[in-house]
Symmetry: D2
Subunit: 289 residues, 4 copies
């Protein structure tokens, strides 16, 4: 079924989340047929854990977003659907929070520049000036605001809130920001704030985990990218990766290897988020890669 | 929408392949709604390479296969769909062809026995008697038929054809059978005969590839599971895996490592096939894992 | 330097552990020159953590073990060396303790049979009869002794001690034995008892870890092989491996995947141990692979 | 044995290659004892393929390089040893040849800057100006010289030769330089020129390999770093890595994934080279990692 108008065909991504019931896919795809859309990619999942239904599909159509929304409205109403419609590959407005570590920010900016990562960064906000030259090189605005000192952290978080509004930010990435967000901020940004941290088999609590990992002689060093929640480092996991190591590695070398795992894991998590491939399912994520 | 009858709910897997056009998903899911089905898992893919549409979905319904088929019939007709409907987890009748190597057969039989691999093996047919004790241990019928000597290979292949009919075989697995099938047999079993062979970066042609791999000092040893075609070792790839090696490994050790890659790769390919997750897309496969 | 006698050349593996000081390698290799030995492989490591020196070397010589020991004696004395001399590829006498799970035992016995794992198993001792047919198939003696009931566990451990003496056992492998050894037994078998257990990023404490891993949506399922100590699951790590998973996997599927990780990880740990490649360095291991 | 003088202790790396004979290690370590050296890391390997002996060791001593050389001289003479003595972590003077692709150069410069890669780059020479801003950002001299046009390629290679002399270059890295070196240059830089290229299971010959890989539906995309020889892309392999892909990836996405494999593989190869961990063994390498 081709579109009746001469408008150019645009590819959209639609995500659908609701209570699981028969007939959802038929109803949603009916709305898509109505606007002359062709589904080019689709995945769905019914969560046994939460009895909820998750769907992500890409459709090509010459209908406008408003026309698609109008066609979907009765279905959304009937099934109590939370949905999101977006153009495929539209850059997601992303605020990066950083500190002194450069590896994650360097990779994100390089990938954007190379055209491999569909996000745009209106601002990098950091509690140290270290990242400024890198930001400047890639033409990304940079602000430095200390988090040390009376009221400094609250002021930093206020600036975060302000920047989110100012730039209509859709995603906040903690690229080794190294500060714990207040529970209030965690709640405000639920499901749109991604953190990266090292991970080990087994896990280690407390300071200097690479030293602990060295002392225990772990053979795999990893990283976890997860949504930030007020439960520190325990938010829903988006991606994990590991790299093999051995006894010859010093704690410093383990850290360098861990940074490489962090870079790749964060890049992957941000890529999937920016493609609407990450959906929250209670304490875990559904990843439609 | 619950079923009007008191029949127990059964989970089915449906695969759909046809020329890509708008409205397919809506039409197929309409038929599913008609039989009171609930879709529990779904993936689809539109191949840019062949302009064909591929869908795999699982549905739970108390309707019978005949009722589902009847509901689907007009849709199948309208879109020119090749489809397949099966019960989820129904064991796939699998003929194993072997020779002297035990590793792949041992793993397949162990995984079946452990309840991890939804296939059943009515027969293992081999050109050497080596696998007989293993087959006996797992209670699987075994036949030995030589492939050496005048007419022996043709007789072997005739027995394969016969066994396929006799046991209504759905899948033929070459578990290190080490003989080249005739082009005729390849054609007869197109899309339902899986082979496993070693793979290297870079590839090596000719005899004794592990010795060549050792001489070139390769750092990754792998395996490829693919559909058999008359183009030797060049059929559509289903799965590939690799294992890291180094200069200290002898050709014999490389072979042992390669066998481990073969075991895992073949197991994965057979698992996906038995779950209707492998669809042919011209010279390649669509894997809905 | 060829040997003065007509004795056949034998390849030995020698491991050396002592306090780190200059001159050790020169002194040890001097003894090897004395017996006409040629070093065919060697690795050494100086542990910053413990200030200890670790060396593993393979040497080919026609001298007898007694002649080698005599040549080494003054060096051993001078540097306070703990050493071990063994023939390369001599099968290590290994007692396997099992329960109901078959995957690890099946793999170990298959690998031995295939000639890939240089151990011999004089006995499998289990607290359930499940493994008996498998043991019988591979011609390995099997005993079943319950661990439930008053005094049963103590009796089981006494039988373990007895079997270790009776068969001059060098290595005890807990192949999913699923019982906690008493601290006394742990101490008796320190450095020669290997356990395998699942591992996750992050780690989970308590019952049903696969269910927990499913609920948290982990993306990597792994396994750790380690020396048993009285500190449960916290002994020195020998090997770790992971396999990628996603949200579509049920807890049961995660468990099957975890078992595959266990199989490979335990096999690797036992292989390295049997080749004298695993040396204890305090709370961690030095692996000369 | 501590040094008799008050000179500071320096850590050296020594590599030794010669025909395999008994007594080499004893003789070499005797020289090290003579200069009061303590061996802190050591690996050796006897190649069955070439009957040659390879050793790499690190030693801490307060003796000067000249004193060490003097102590080694009779041993070198006696066994016909090719050897190399260097300070551990001394930055290796590395000439980078590039073209338009940024990913490898970006990573190398970032890793140097982060202190993770012990090389220094006196010059990046490229046949396009694309890399200049990146070079400038990291403070690395950059020159642009076209390779198109009559005599251009010969002029480029002459400039390479000149730069190698001018900066006393020890390593030439082809970071996606995309031009074939003349056989003469390959020979001049034998064993000190590293190239990176994509690799596939199976391999593909000819143009546009990512399109071919897509058409064949490969499941693993990889990269190979190797020493350059006049036999194009067939030089001794230093490192290989792979990344899993599936049918949903476009040729463009495969290329982006392949670039990530190239980045990590080249970084690893350069790291090992700069630590004297890569030794040539005929058509393959010995990697003492």
């Amino acid at each position: 079924m081709s579109s009746p108008t001469a408008s150019p065909t645009v590819e959209y991504v639609l995500t659908v989340v609701c209570e699981d019931r028969p007939g959802i896919v038929h109803a949603v795809t009916g709305a898509i047929v109505e606007v002359g859309g062709n589904i080019t990619e689709s995945r769905q999942f019914e969560s046994g854990a939460t009895q909820r239904f998750y769907m992500r599909l890409q459709l090509a159509t010459s209908a406008s977003p408003a026309e698609i929304a109008a066609a979907l409205a009765p279905v959304v109403e009937r099934f109590g659907i939370e949905h999101r419609l977006d153009e495929v590959a539209r850059p997601v407005r992303t605020l990066i929070l950083g500190s002194t570590a450069k590896h994650c920010v360097n990779d994100l900016l390089f990938q954007i520049d190379a055209g491999h990562l569909p996000i745009e960064v209106p601002l990098i906000l950091a509690n140290h000036p270290t990242l400024e030259p890198l930001a400047t090189f890639y033409g990304v605005p940079f602000e430095h605001l200390p988090t040390k000192g009376e009221g400094a952290k609250a002021a930093f978080e206020d600036r975060v809130r302000e920047a989110v509004v100012e730039h209509d930010v859709e995603l906040v990435v903690l690229a080794r920001y190294m500060q714990i967000l207040t529970p209030e901020l965690c709640e405000e940004f639920e499901g749109r704030c991604i953190n990266i941290h090292h991970s080990f088999l087994p896990g280690f609590k407390g300071a200097n985990p690479y030293r602990q990992a060295h002392a225990r002689g772990v053979k795999q060093i990893g990283a976890t990218a997860h949504f930030v929640t007020s439960d520190l480092d325990e938010g829903p996991i988006i991606e994990q990766d590991v790299i093999r190591v051995d006894h010859t590695r010093s704690p410093q070398e383990l850290m360098a290897i861990g940074q490489d795992a962090e870079v790749r894991t964060l890049r992957q998590a941000v890529t999937w988020f920016s493609q609407s491939r990450v959906l929250l399912d209670g304490t875990r994520t559904v990843i439609f890669r």
